[in-house]
């Protein structure tokens, strides 16, 4: 017997035949295919019982109801709440992706103390007790030096219990310097105060209007309560109501409007006065309102007839005279016309003259407190707390003027002027702010001229951030006391901007806090109690929830069960009772501070020779540009004509591009008085020649790899331009120079 090559081959052949007749190859093929479909890194959600918890989204002030889907105790989806008065099942892209914020790598997981240099990003995790004692130690030093007024607070909002707890803390401590992030709501409030002689806020009866004239308001780009506006827009399409968009750029809103009227940027208010001119001259105005309820119509009439002729207005605005006349006729011919303003998402308060002009247009048509028009709503007053307990130090501190001069002789109608803060700090030898709290805000990203803002923050010796995320401001802080995020906490939401029924919504926790965070309301109560004395006594509540419950009183039960409290009986006052307490008159030309006497236009900074173009910004639903920044899902939806890789695109008219020798996708240097940046060019027919448009919401330097260093922050390129009456930021753009790189 000899084992040779043939016998070996035979053995192999037998083996092959046997293997083929055994299950081995077939089973292995099957198993390996299953194996390749179940990689260990493929996420497999764990199974469990599905349930829904209702709450309110507080990522913006819009007040949308949300239904949060959970599997057992895990949050898996955020949906719009059906039948909610604000959004009725609708939800915006940010709200939908809000879940990513919960587990975001940018979240601050525990209180942090800075160990390296400021902004170096070196932190040490500390306990909450240590964080509170660190902060109270710093604050005690200010009181020991008798300078409590040097404590300031920047809050994302001036409304709601949490913001008011911070404001109260400052008052008890001895400082008036509570500042809130401004918006068009501040300008609207002031317009009401000046023209109605009464305090209030505005609501719009969008559902019933049959002609909406928008002066640059991004109705479908995030203005007001975004999901509510989307619903309203659907309603107009069904009812055949008309929507006209006046804007210098073909925004999403303009594209969806029945008519788009391109206009020179910054001249919208003048167009409103021009329309007023035509309406009055053709006697199309509401005689009942004008004759019986206004005191100074004749003066207004003279002003607009003399100063805002269609020819002159056409010259300033770039809108044809015939278009102006026809638009005025159409607006006046509608049965329930309504005009609104506030550019884009309404983050910049804007020119008071513009607000006055647009409001006057509504008044001319009697669209105030009438169906389909605007409603003047009483100030919300559910926060009624006992007077703050004062001691000698705090009383003295409270007598000192505010740093930003809001409420001073110069700006008597303003409550806070955050836009003035960095200028004032930078021009002082020693910063008038020695300690700063930042809550619900990211000023080092959102403030105009971020370079200046950063310089001013460098001069503030102590900064405490209450942010949930490692944003630009938290990055520059000395101490971070992280707040829960919106899904983890209680929060009262007052009437959303523009919503026409006084209401309160309640956001409640849908999940236990994921990290070692604390509700900022609880944090500030704890700090007050640790400081003790009259400060501690000013906070009689055991915790934030206890404070919220007591503040909301008999509404608490309804809010806890239904999440919504609405003043169902609310009806706007009749004209006879609508204006002021002492007078019953509407002021077309306010006595105390006449916005019409000022210059026609707010100028864009920079000289025309060095900066031949004009840079404006545009807002998009896909780019969150405030305290909350885009989560990864949302930034993924941004078109590559806006952001490609890390490059931002600016929009440019083909004619201007030709003049500058620029083509689609070219790199270019964009410079303004404030900064110089590199951008890419997107040629776009929907923008006026000579104008460059840049999206807001990009160019973060902080946060995570999904967001940081993508594009340019528009705020870096622009400065604040004070409105002469309000002192609020009225900048609508800035002069700029674009050159091939």
């Amino acid at each position: 017997m000899k084992i040779d090559r043939r016998s070996f081959l035979s053995l192999v052949a037998g083996g092959a035949a046997g293997t083929a007749l055994s299950p081995l190859p077939w089973k292995l093929i099957d198993d390996s295919s299953i194996w390749t479909q179940n990689w260990p890194w493929t996420p497999v959600p764990t199974d469990g019982e599905s349930n829904y918890v209702d709450s309110v989204c507080t990522l913006c002030p819009g007040g949308c109801g949300i239904s949060v889907r959970k599997i057992d105790n895990r949050v898996v989806k955020i949906e719009g709440k059906k039948d909610h008065p604000v959004n009725n099942g609708g939800i915006c892209i940010l709200g939908l992706a809000g879940l990513q914020l919960l587990y975001s790598p940018s979240r601050i997981k525990s209180p942090l103390k800075r160990t390296g240099k400021r902004g170096e990003g070196k932190w040490k995790e500390i306990s909450w007790n240590q964080a509170v004692s660190e902060i109270t130690e710093k604050l005690s030093q200010l009181r020991e030096k008798n300078i409590p007024e040097t404590l300031a607070c920047i809050s994302g909002s001036a409304q709601g219990v949490e913001s008011n707890l911070f404001k109260r803390f400052l008052e008890a401590f001895g400082s008036q310097n509570f500042m809130s992030v401004p918006s068009i709501q501040n300008s609207y409030d002031m317009t009401i105060e000046l023209m109605h002689g009464a305090k209030g806020s505005v609501g719009f009866d969008f559902e019933n209007t049959d002609f909406l004239l928008s002066f640059g308001s991004g109705i479908l780009d995030g203005w007001g309560s975004p999901a509510h506006m989307f619903k309203a827009n659907s309603g107009w399409k069904t009812n055949k109501s008309k929507m006209v968009q006046v804007e210098s750029r073909l925004s999403k809103t303009a594209a969806k409007a029945d008519k788009w009227i391109p206009i020179n940027p910054g001249t919208e208010g003048i167009l409103a006065l021009g329309l007023g001119h035509v309406i009055i001259k053709k006697s199309l105005h509401n005689k009942d309102f004008v004759n019986n309820f206004s005191s100074d119509f004749n003066q207004f009439k003279k002003d607009v007839i003399d100063r805002y002729t269609p020819d002159k207005v056409a010259d300033i605005t770039g809108v044809d005279k015939s278009v102006i006349i026809n638009l005025a006729k159409e607006f006046a011919g509608a049965s329930k016309p309504l005009a609104i303003c506030g550019r884009g998402q309404g983050d910049i308060p804007g020119s008071l003259k513009e607000f006055g002009a647009v409001h006057a247009l509504n008044a001319l048509m009697g669209s105030i407190n009438s169906k389909g028009g605007m409603f003047i709503m009483p100030e919300q007053n559910y926060i009624q707390w006992d007077e703050v307990k004062a001691d000698a130090i705090s009383s003295a501190g409270m007598k000192k003027d505010r740093v930003d001069e809001a409420g001073s002789v110069k700006f008597p109608h303003s409550k806070s002027l955050l836009n003035r803060l960095s200028g004032i700090i930078n021009s002082s030898k020693e910063s008038p702010v020695q300690a700063l709290f930042v809550t619900g805000a990211n000023p080092l990203y959102t403030m105009s001229d971020t370079g200046q803002a950063r310089k001013s923050f460098d001069k503030i010796p102590f900064i405490a951030s209450f942010s949930s995320f490692m944003d630009e401001t938290a990055h520059q802080a000395d101490l971070i006391l992280p707040n829960h995020i919106f899904l983890e906490r209680y929060e009262d939401v007052p009437t959303p901007p523009g919503f026409a029924v006084p209401s309160i919504f309640l956001a409640k926790p849908v999940i236990e806090p994921v990290f070692n965070t604390k509700h900022s309301g609880d944090a500030i109560i704890k700090i007050a109690k640790t400081l003790g004395g009259s400060i501690g006594e000013s906070f009689p509540w055991t915790c934030y929830e206890n404070c919220l419950k007591k503040t909301l009183g008999d509404k608490w039960g309804t809010l806890l069960n239904q999440g919504v409290w609405m003043d169902k009986n609310f009806k706007p006052s009749t004209w006879a009772n609508a204006f002021g307490e002492s007078s019953t008159q509407f002021y077309f030309v306010p006595k105390s501070a006449d916005p019409f006497s000022g210059p026609d236009l707010i100028n864009a900074e920079g000289d025309q020779k060095s900066y031949p173009q004009i840079l404006i910004s545009y807002d998009s639903m896909r780019l969150a540009n405030g305290f909350i920044a885009d989560p990864p899902f949302v930034i993924k939806t941004v078109s590559d004509t806006v952001l490609k890789g890390k490059d931002i695109f600016v929009e440019l008219n083909p004619d201007t591009a030709r003049e500058l020798g620029l083509h689609e996708g070219d790199y270019a240097n964009l410079s303004t008085l404030k900064a110089k940046v590199k951008v890419r060019v997107h040629i776009f027919n929907g923008i006026k020649p000579g104008v460059i448009a840049m999206p807001t919401g990009l160019g973060h330097t902080a946060y995570d790899k999904y967001l940081a260093e993508k594009g340019i922050n528009y705020n870096k390129l622009i400065g604040s331009v004070e409105d002469p009456v309000s002192g609020l930021d009225a900048a609508w753009g800035i002069r700029a120079k674009l050159a091939k790189a």
């Binding site: 084992i3 053995l11 037998g14 046997g18 055994s22 299950p23 089973k27 292995l28 099957d30 959600p45």
Partner: protein
């Protein structure tokens, strides 16, 4: 010479071919042994359930059969293996002296920890299966797919496929894939077998053309 030589060569050839066949048979037998006996031994590892569970005993105590513990939730989804919370309803403390129950109470109930049960019928996540459609809709018996597990007095060994991580019960105990009962295997072919049968009687979208995505997500 040449004749003798030829004869020799033939003899040699016969001897050699027999020898070669022997090698062939040896290879065949060996590989059959490996394929049918050794391979399954190597493919599966044997694991014991964290707690030895007596289905028969529990089934006597409950009123609603299998659904007493393996119930449908309000939304129609199937709860599958019970969570600790359900067990605690009866077993907050040990009810007897059964060592398995004592282990369960001490190790899991007292520590408020869910039992990491090994699930014999677990399918990959990329397959969608609705218990409600089969049990409620088609009124099928649990045992049609799961066999008479309800009558078992102790937990059988869980055999885990070393490649896929799934239980041997999916492919079936028989490595050749042969089955006697409907519950012997839970592969796609077994789903298809039943769905094909009932196509005439009921709507069975799964067997229509382009129906892959009805089950495969």
């Amino acid at each position: 010479m040449s004749k003798i030589k030829n004869n020799k060569t033939d003899e040699n050839k016969e001897g050699a071919s027999g020898f070669i066949i022997l090698f062939f048979v040896a290879g065949l037998v060996l590989s059959l042994v490996v394929g049918w006996i050794v391979f399954p031994e190597l493919l599966y590892s044997q694991k014991e359930q964290p707690v030895n569970f007596n289905h028969a005993l529990h089934l006597e105590e409950v009123d609603d059969g299998c659904e007493s513990c393996h119930f449908f939730r309000e939304d129609g989804s199937f709860s599958g293996v019970p969570k600790l919370a359900q067990c605690v309803d009866c077993h907050e403390e040990a009810q007897g002296e059964n060592p398995d129950e004592i282990i369960f109470v001490e190790e899991y109930v007292a520590k408020d920890k869910d039992v990491p049960w090994l699930i014999y019928s677990k399918q990959p996540d990329c397959v969608f299966f609705s218990h409600a459609a089969h049990v409620k809709g088609a009124e099928m018996e649990c045992s049609t797919c799961h066999g008479h597990i309800g009558e078992s007095e102790s937990s059988k060994i869980y055999e885990e496929n070393r490649i896929t991580g799934y239980s041997r019960d999916i492919w079936g105990k028989n490595i050749g894939g042969f089955k006697k009962n409907t519950w012997d295997r839970m592969k796609m072919d077994d789903c298809a077998e039943c769905h094909k049968k009932i196509t005439d009687k009921a709507t069975s979208v799964q067997t229509k053309k382009d129906a892959c995505f009805v089950c495969h997500k």
